[in-house]
């Protein structure tokens, strides 16, 4: 395969990279007043990159001698990532303008992070995996401490950086073991090395790689950074962290597990099952005592990652399809919730993050309360909202491979989770009103909330045939 053909397959990343560097020049020469225009230009770039997925970049096969895979699995994950990144780009300028932190580098960093995430989900080689992950993480560390004068933001960035570097080290050690014991970094080569039984060194490599990736998706017991980072980072950045990188890391983990370590399913399944159980239980229990909505949503994301991991634990095509569907629904729910959190600000325009301030929201801001209630019900997996369908698919895949005891425990833990989601709904609808929030300034944000609320509402079931077919096609690409 010639270089030009390979480049054609990486078209989305090329568009984003060239665009990001161009926008960086614009920011450098025009200054921070161009931020809003640059943000919209970045959204346009993400849209163009999504369109590029329709071409050979969406289903062209392997490029660069197997370093890169352009298949429908990667295309599905990339579409989700671009949508999530684009949404967090749209809502960010107003937020930063309110607290005087407008910096034109924000959209550029998001774009470069999106390039890294695209590399992650398209990885066909442990090297691509690692470099993509580093590109994404490095941009994320900077974004976390983007409001550098805010001590909480700086603390979040530092914490994320130190723990992220540790996780990268663990991952890299695993990769080096896999390379040492199988003689290659390509996923096919690793799979071939696993085919004749798992040696002790390969086993260690597998465990370290899984542990490093579990950190990136913030699965228990590698979740400690999540609440602190989510609380400290600026809210649009938190929305970004909770959506796009989660999708990328989860898709990456799925690909590594199925494509690279398919011969050792029994070995990684134990790890995934433990992480899934621990995440759902801890994500449910630890969220109960939270008083800060961003911390609560952090535990909610840990909880949800647990359910996604249940799908991976099934290890079948149906399981992987359930993972992809769940991620799509999860992105809509999470991004929607965080845009609702962005509306929580007092009459001076300062952000408010306590759950208590939501009291009686149904009387002061009925529309916002209804939307947030829809997201909470959906996150809790209560029918007829779309969050239920996603959980149903995951457990269906588990039962199909005979792991029904695990499915039972999973359903039980989802009940624990439902408690704190419903507590928010109760606070909004049945408590005495707290001081009202400032009115919504942006029609775009209202529209985004409405779109995501409609998607997870029962109307979203209309999208199930298309979503199911796309997820199934994505899963088929791995098997």
């Amino acid at each position: 395969m010639s270089l030009v053909q390979s480049l054609a397959l990486t078209l989305p990343e090329l568009i984003l990279t060239v665009g990001a560097v161009t926008l960086l020049m614009v920011v450098a020469f025009v200054g921070d007043q161009a931020t809003k225009a640059v943000s919209w230009a970045a959204v346009a770039l993400l849209a163009v990159a999504s369109l590029a997925l329709l071409g050979p970049a969406g289903h062209g096969g392997a490029a660069f001698d197997g370093l890169y895979r352009a298949d429908s699995f990667a295309a599905f994950a990339k579409l989700l990532i671009y949508i999530a990144a684009g949404t967090t780009l749209i809502v960010a300028p107003d937020f930063f303008a309110r607290n005087g932190n407008v910096r034109g580098e924000y959209p550029v960093l998001i774009l470069l992070s999106a390039v890294g995430m695209g590399m992650m989900v398209s990885a066909g080689d442990l090297l691509t995996l690692y470099v993509g992950l580093e590109l994404q993480s490095l941009a994320a560390y900077v974004l976390a401490s983007f409001m550098r004068r805010d001590t909480r933001s700086a603390e979040a960035g530092l914490k994320y950086f130190v723990l992220g570097a540790l996780a990268s080290g663990i991952l890299l050690y695993g990769i080096s073991l896999l390379y040492g014991f199988t003689g290659t970094t390509a996923f096919e080569g690793v799979a071939a090395g696993f085919a004749d039984g798992l040696s002790m060194g390969e086993m260690f490599g597998l465990v370290f790689v899984m542990a490093g990736l579990a950190f990136k998706i913030s699965a228990v017991p590698f979740h400690m950074w999540t609440p602190d980072v989510y609380e400290g980072a600026p809210t649009p950045v938190t929305a970004f962290f909770a959506s796009a990188p989660k999708v990328a890391a989860m898709a990456l983990m799925t690909r590594v597990a199925v494509e690279g370590m398919g011969g050792a399913t029994d070995a990684w399944r134990q790890i995934v099952i433990f992480a899934a159980l621990a995440s759902t239980i801890l994500g449910g229990v630890a969220a109960i005592g939270q008083t800060n909505i961003k911390r609560l949503l952090a535990y909610s994301s840990i909880n949800n990652v647990g359910f996604v991991l249940f799908g991976l634990a099934a290890g079948t095509q149906e399981g992987v399809a359930a993972v992809m569907t769940y991620l799509a629904v999860y992105v809509a729910m999470t991004v929607g919730s965080f845009i609702c959190v962005l509306q929580m600000r007092d009459t001076d325009g300062q952000p408010v993050e306590t759950i208590a301030s939501l009291s009686g929201l149904s009387r002061t801001r009925p529309g916002l309360a209804a939307a947030l209630a829809i997201f909470m019900f959906s996150l809790a997996g209560i029918p007829p909202l779309l969050g239920f369908w996603a959980k149903f698919l995951v457990f269906d895949a588990l039962v199909a491979v005979g792991l029904w005891p695990l499915a039972m425990i999973g359903i039980a833990t989802s009940v624990i989770g439902a408690f704190y989601y419903l507590k928010i709904v109760k606070t909004m609808y049945f408590d005495d009103p707290a001081p009202a929030y400032a009115p919504m300034e942006s029609k775009v944000e209202g529209g985004l909330i409405a779109i995501s609320a409609l998607f997870v509402s029962p109307l979203g079931y209309l999208a199930i045939p298309a979503l199911g077919a796309a997820s199934m096609a994505a899963a088929r690409a791995l098997f």
């Binding site: 270089l3 390979s6 990486t10 990279t17 560097v21 960086l24 490029a63 660069f64 001698d65 370093l67 890169y68 910096r103 580098e105 550029v108 960093l109 470069l112 390039v115 890294g116 590399m119 090297l127 691509t128 470099v131 993509g132 580093e134 590109l135 490095l138 941009a139 560390y141 900077v142 401490s145 983007f146 550098r148 960035g157 390379y179 040492g180 014991f181 003689g183 060194g201």
Partner: protein, 203 residues
């Protein structure tokens, strides 16, 4: 035969230059001996067929690191006799380090010879007729071009990040405005006057 002579020549020079680096009284001489040691080590690398590493040694170590050392040694006012006075006290630690390194070299060589973890398969040796600069070039700039470019992006992000997190516009400075300077014409700045005798200058 000629290789053997060359090997012993280079090896002897490396060891001798190394000893002189440590024992030389003048620190500038030390650095010069170090450069000689690097050159001879590069010669050894050429002998084993690793010409890329040989060039790297000369370019990076001699060209950059040694010059840096020289600058540091010449510019900083360090009392080397005082530094040297602790040699006897630190000698046991040095000997320990030497023993550890020696043991590691012996272990590594023995493990390589025993072939326990099948290194030959992992290392994927290249055909002998390809020079190793070409082989490395093929690996970095052709086989792994994609990763190489992405690594460049990682560095770009690191640079942007460092600027975002630390740069601030300073107020109250009076920077040079080049275009204003260039635009300034003689008419704006110079006035020709015919000064009459006996009167004061009007400014």
């Amino acid at each position: 035969m000629i290789q053997t002579i060359a090997f012993y020549l280079f090896a002897f020079m490396v060891v001798a230059a190394g000893i002189l680096t440590v024992t030389a009284r003048n620190p500038v001489h030390s650095v010069l001996w170090l450069i000689l040691a690097f050159f001879n080590a590069a010669g050894l690398m050429v002998l084993v067929g690793a010409e890329f590493i040989a060039m790297l040694l000369v370019i990076v170590y001699v060209g950059a690191v040694a010059v840096l050392f020289l600058f540091v040694v010449m510019m900083l006012d360090i009392d080397f006799t005082e530094l040297r006075s602790g040699v006897a006290r630190h000698a046991p630690f040095g000997v320990l380090l030497v023993l550890v390194l020696l043991a590691e070299i012996i272990f590594a060589t023995a493990a390589w010879n025993a072939g326990g973890i099948d290194m030959a398969r992992s290392a994927a040796p290249v055909p002998a007729e390809v020079p190793n600069i070409e082989a490395l070039g093929t690996v970095i700039y052709t086989r792994y071009l994609y990763i190489f470019e992405a690594a460049g992006l990682v560095l770009l992000v690191a640079m942007i990040g460092a600027i975002v997190l630390t740069h601030r516009a300073r107020g109250g400075t009076r920077p040079q405005n080049v275009s204003q300077q260039v635009k300034r014409r003689p008419e704006d700045a110079v006035r020709n006057i015919n000064q009459p005798v006996g009167q004061g200058v009007e400014l």
